[in-house]
């Protein structure tokens, strides 16, 4: 159906429900075929791809983790050599941080934020498509490098001089640095889209105090990305310049400074932890609200805690550098700020506990994940308080205690809520329910396996085991605990395998999901499961924080949108009153081609600086085609 048989100013009020649904479906649809798949700008399709890709990277990273555990199970084991081990733990860390944790959180934002704020697509949808392809290219780069025995072997924070030109032979460190560039690009793109979507595309009536907490958390996360990523961009670019064209940013003999790298890296690296954790906070808040059958206690404190965490996150990067020999005043300041971030995190825990206390908890799988999250994350947070103390940190820094700590924070604090979120939103995304009985097994195996695997690492660190050692002697007496840890890792692995099995099987044979299977209050549950390509046939209008609880039977809607182009509503920042109708871009192949051109340029620049010059030509061409004016006038209204 072409647009020509519709009057140019036709509005949705002119059509009946069924005709309108057909009209919108054809207008917003993604065409079949490879070309359609490559040129789609539907945030749901892209978000789904993002999620699936990130979970594939989780699986691959998990395989590397098991390889690490086999190597460390016995003293003087020769399963992996030193060289391979160093590549494996570097790729494990870089993969989990840059290719799994951050992208998967963004992916849920890409999928859910437009639905939760009641709009038809994310802002800048073509940029969204571009960000996915760039992310995919970065991930393939890293894993291809590992497969070719040229994986980075410098640790996920790549300290110079080890990663610098003199000690990092070959292209391994360059591949790491360019992989960072890819993920920076995609993360920044998604962050901009989410900020604009949340600020300008909320459903009419969704004033600031009615925004769902998950959306708030994605907003704060996006601002963290926008402010933290430039630091790592500077760092990875200067590293490549040092290695490729012989600049001296990190050469102490020529006035450079090796500690500059650590400052730049951790100025990004610490907020990174909260970029991963804050979306998990949003997921927990959503799940707790729904399954405690009660509005969240302390909405305002929770939102303020999100902002406080986000701001404090930029003031404590030096606690990763407590043993480099800092001035006393600096140490004291960063100890105080690192301790202080426990306060907003405490507030969040208290609010969830109060909600559960006062509500009527329904023990479904997502809530069980939240319970596992609270138990483990509090341990991780408390060991975080311990490493924030300078004198204490001098004993545990760079040991297995820290390895245990950050796995408690990242798996306990982010992966458990994430898996809860998968169980929670799976029916919306796939249209089928996941298996509740298997889900309980998954929670139990993961919780037990996780704690048995990582808790003993605290002790290993205290009895002297440094991190990143590829082996250890029998005289160190670390063999028993390491073997215990390695065996427990099998339980953890079984839990993950069961989760993947459940997720894949349910996609084909799960129970068909209704619109709102959990009786949840937010807008993404107001449309069908999975949602139609236009998300909402009529844009909902909101009059409270929990629209589906307050108006359980029929939501108010906004009408008058044109139906001959992809149109959505732009609203004001604070009280979300309608301001304009805006057309959302159509499908385009150019973001995909631009991503390929960028990939070619970025990878070739590892080998020759001239690649930056010649490689920008195809990028420029694809961008020009991407932004080529279509000659359709902007709507005035």
């Amino acid at each position: 159906m072409s647009t020509s048989d519709i009057a140019p100013d036709a509005r949705d009020t002119a059509l009946q429900e069924k005709a309108l649904a057909e009209r919108l479906a054809s207008l917003w649809a993604t065409p079949r075929g490879i070309l359609g798949a490559l040129s789609t700008v539907d945030h749901k399709i892209i978000g789904r791809r993002y999620i699936v890709t990130a979970f594939i990277f989780l699986l691959l990273g998990g395989v590397l983790a098991l390889a690490i555990r086999i190597q460390l199970a016995r003293p003087e084991n020769r399963f992996l050599g030193a060289d391979i081990y160093n590549q494996v733990f570097t790729v494990h860390g870089s993969n989990m941080m840059f290719l799994f944790a951050v992208p998967v959180m963004e992916a849920f934002g890409v999928y859910l934020v437009p639905l939760m704020v009641g709009t038809r697509n994310i802002a800048f949808p073509r940029l969204n498509a571009f960000s996915y392809w760039i992310y995919l290219a970065g991930g393939i780069t890293l894993w291809a490098a590992l497969a070719l025995d040229m994986g980075p072997d410098i640790g996920w924070f790549a300290y110079v001089p080890l990663s610098g030109p003199q000690f990092g032979a070959g292209k391994r460190a360059d591949i790491w640095a360019q992989m960072i560039t890819f993920t920076e690009l995609s993360a920044l793109a998604v962050a901009v889209e989410i900020v604009v979507t949340v600020f300008k595309q909320r459903a009419p009536g969704m004033s600031l105090d009615r925004i769902p907490l998950f959306v708030w958390s994605m907003l704060v996360t996006s601002f963290l990305i926008i402010m933290a990523m430039p630091a790592i961009m500077v760092a990875s670019t200067t590293l490549i310049l040092d290695r490729l064209v012989g600049t001296h940013f990190y050469n102490p003999a020529e006035g450079g400074d090796v500690l500059l790298w650590q400052h730049l890296f951790w100025f990004f690296g610490h907020p990174e932890v909260y970029i991963i954790f804050l979306p998990a906070v949003g997921m927990v808040s959503s799940i707790v609200t729904t399954f405690a059958r009660r509005p969240i206690v302390g909405y305002l404190p929770l939102v303020l805690a999100l902002f406080a965490t986000g701001i404090l996150a930029f003031g404590l990067w030096v606690h990763h550098m407590f043993v480099v020999g800092l001035p006393r005043v600096g140490e004291s300041f960063f100890t105080a700020s690192s301790m202080a971030i426990a306060v907003p995190n405490g507030i969040q825990i208290f609010c969830w506990l109060a909600t559960l206390w006062d509500g009527r908890p329904q023990f479904r799988t997502p809530l069980l994940f939240v319970v596992a999250f609270i138990i483990t994350f509090v341990i991780g947070g408390l060991t975080g308080v311990m490493v924030a103390s300078v004198p204490l940190d001098t004993q545990v820094h760079d040991t297995y205690f820290v390895v245990a700590h950050f796995h408690y924070v990242l798996i306990g604090g982010a992966v458990f809520p994430l898996l809860g979120a998968v169980y929670y939103w799976y029916p919306k995304i796939v249209g089928r329910m996941m298996n509740e009985r298997l889900g309980r097994w998954v929670v139990a195996l993961l919780f037990v396996g996780f704690n048995l695997t990582f808790f003993p690492m605290h002790i290993l660190g205290l009895i002297g085991m440094p991190r990143r050692v590829y082996t250890y002697g029998p005289e160190m007496h670390w063999g028993g605990l390491n073997l215990f840890v390695s065996l427990s890792a099998v339980i953890l692995a079984v839990g993950f395998v069961l989760f993947f099995y459940d997720a894949i099987r349910s996609a084909f044979s799960g129970e068909i999901a209704p619109e709102n299977p959990w009786g949840a209050p937010t807008l993404e549950w107001a449309t069908s499961s999975p949602p139609p390509s236009c998300n909402f046939e009529r844009i909902p209008v909101v009059s409270g924080s929990y629209p589906l609880w307050e108006e359980p039977h029929a939501l108010s809607v906004a009408t008058g949108l044109r139906i001959n182009r992809r149109e959505l509503l732009v609203t004001s920042i604070s009280d979300a009153s309608p301001q304009a109708r805006e057309s959302s871009p159509r499908n385009s192949i150019w973001p995909f081609l631009a991503a390929i051109a960028s990939t070619v340029m970025l990878l070739s620049s590892i080998f020759s600086p001239w690649a930056v010059v010649w490689g920008s030509v195809p990028i420029a061409v694809t961008l020009i085609m991407w932004f080529w004016p279509k000659g359709t006038p902007e709507d005035i209204s």
Binding site: V323, A340, L356, S389, P391, H397, V448, N451
Partner: protein, 337 residues
């Protein structure tokens, strides 16, 4: 669900009991600094454990307490909400107090770690990929300066100040039984102070990832009485022992003629390379190759014959030697007490 913790608690309790395990452990301190650090660690552990248990108790009650039956999302009562908010505020204030106290305790502990003492013994330590070079300094008597790779001897009770620097990549000095850690950073000078309170052998290990053989970059700290320390110092200042039999003599000539002398020094011979560890008193040290092998004639021979199998990527090349040459040179090495 919490049954998972029982074996772990068992493991915690078992550790202090199991013998010589404490030579590289923050949990068995033998120095002034590590002692106060361990008290700090226990204080934090206890406070954190109490907080965690409180949270878990509240969580358990919140989940399982009895409630009136009903399933509809309840309407909000302002009085109820404000009571809950009040409880959250109170818990937050408690958090601030606990955190503030821990911060102050941490500040005080930091102050206690620096002991300004006149009678301090100063060493210089340089980190290399993947071994340590320790220089015993003596400002008044340059002839008393000597090198002791991978092994530090200190007198008990006397504060030791180690000046740390690195020439290649970042390393980190860490002897958990005596003190915390401090990085060795190219282009910067750091220092760490510790005092051993009990005679013993303590192990330290590089804690900052430094490349292929990061795992095999250890050193020993041997705390002994001032008398035996002085005796050790005198023996180290002396030149290398002369070969006492033919085998050792042949070994010495192999050592000085072959590639060995290009990198290693044996004071008193023509071997004066400075790229690898000083071997003047190699057999007096307990380990070779940075804590990799205990020093015996056999392990010396194995190391010389095939260093790249024992420590892949190490900068020690496999020098082609005949079996006779290998036997002679290992006999000579083993004689360098």
């Amino acid at each position: 669900m919490r049954s998972g913790f029982k074996p772990l608690l068992g493991a915690v309790c078992a550790f202090p009991l199991s013998g010589c395990i404490g030579w590289q452990s923050a949990l068995s301190p033998h120095g002034a600094q590590s002692g106060s650090l361990l008290r700090l660690i226990w204080l934090f552990v206890v406070v954190c454990a109490v907080v965690w248990i409180l949270v878990i108790v509240v969580l358990a009650v919140a989940l399982f307490r009895r409630r009136p039956i009903g399933n509809e999302p309840p309407l909000l009562e302002p009085s109820r909400e404000s009571r809950l908010n009040g409880i959250i505020a109170a818990a937050t204030v408690m958090t601030v107090l606990v955190i503030g106290t821990l911060t102050l305790v941490s500040f005080v502990a930091t102050r206690g770690l620096d002991s300004a003492d006149e009678n301090v013994l100063t060493l210089r330590m340089r980190g290399f990929q993947w071994w340590w070079e320790i220089t015993y300094l003596d400002a008044s008597r340059p002839d008393r300066i000597f090198l002791s790779p991978n092994e530090i001897h200190v007198p008990v009770g006397r504060p030791v100040r180690v000046r740390l620097s690195a020439d290649d990549v970042i390393h980190s000095f860490w002897v958990p039984s005596l003190a915390g850690k401090k990085d060795l950073i190219p282009g910067r000078d750091n220092a760490i102070t510790f005092t051993a309170t009990r005679p013993g052998v303590y192990r330290g290990q590089c804690a900052e990832f430094c490349g292929l053989q990061h795992a095999h970059m250890a050193f020993l700290v041997i705390a002994e009485t001032p008398q035996s320390f002085e005796a050790w110092r005198r023996s180290q200042i002396a030149e290398a022992a002369s070969p006492s039999n033919d085998e050792e003599k042949r070994g010495q000539s192999v050592f000085t003629v072959k590639a060995c002398a290009a990198c290693h020094t044996v004071r008193g011979t023509s071997a004066s390379g400075s790229l690898g560890p000083d071997l003047t008193h190699v057999a007096s040290r307990r380990y070779i190759a940075s804590g990799l092998l205990e020093t015996t004639r056999g392990s010396l021979a194995a190391w010389i014959a095939d260093p790249q199998t024992l420590k892949p990527g190490s900068n020690m090349p496999s020098v082609p030697l005949s079996s006779d040459e290998l036997r002679d040179v290992s006999a000579y090495m083993a004689s360098l007490k």
